[in-house]
Symmetry: C2
Subunit: 163 residues, 2 copies
Amino acid sequence: MKLSDGVEWSLHCAVVLASLPSEATLPGSALAEFHGVSESYLLKHLKALTKTGILESVSGPKGGYRLAKQAEDITLLDIVEAIEGTESAFRCREIRQRGPACLEPSAYKLPCAINATMLQAEQAWKAALRRQTLSDLVEHLGNNLDPRAIEKSGAWLQENVRC
Amino acid sequence: MKLSDGVEWSLHCAVVLASLPSEATLPGSALAEFHGVSESYLLKHLKALTKTGILESVSGPKGGYRLAKQAEDITLLDIVEAIEGTESAFRCREIRQRGPACLEPSAYKLPCAINATMLQAEQAWKAALRRQTLSDLVEHLGNNLDPRAIEKSGAWLQENVRC
């Protein structure tokens, strides 16, 4: 089981966009350059983040991406699900209804206990992601980064931001 | 993000093996037939479950698979990790160390906050899977199944079990 690289990229991009002045935007090419990742792949993810209402895409010479809402109103689950979709990781194929001991389909009214238990465990993961907002992450990242990296990032962003 | 079908198959097989009399075994072919799944794929998963000490493979005419320990000592996490491996779903590629604002590698002594937060959320999922044992699942499944399915399964297993 693996989350796509797009989740890591999107979380980093969201943190960068959360640190910009209100209304300011950053083009996808700048976000790709800043993170040293493929621009074409990143644009696909930025599109998904826009479609799900996390980012806003502004067109024109001052165009680029910005957060579509406050960082405290965006959860990590929003970002993960924008990239990975909302389908559960465990996909029940109802194999209890196959083989020599199966009954007619109407005999399986109650959900399979294996499916129910696996989905319940997944809910614990989703709840943990839902408890963390983008603004928590920005704060946490700021505390873990070398002050020189913050300064260098700030200078680079100032040159590339569009307002 | 998706767990492989092998996780569902393995959980169902483990439940069946937990319901056999002590020391009894069931061949892989019978487990595949009972669940209506591909024998060759299932054998791959049964091998993984054996390698990680969840199942025991007995050879000879009375051979087949059985649990290697008590059902209450096997957690759902044991089974999931036997199939999916123990690597985390979120794989940090350290993209913070790329791009125009990066510093020398020694400047990144503290773990990336994004990685730490994502792994923490994953731990909630793993903890939920660790709290559930195979014997909990057997009990839960028994409560959710039509009594006729239990009876029909029991009769089929009695014909195919090896002791």
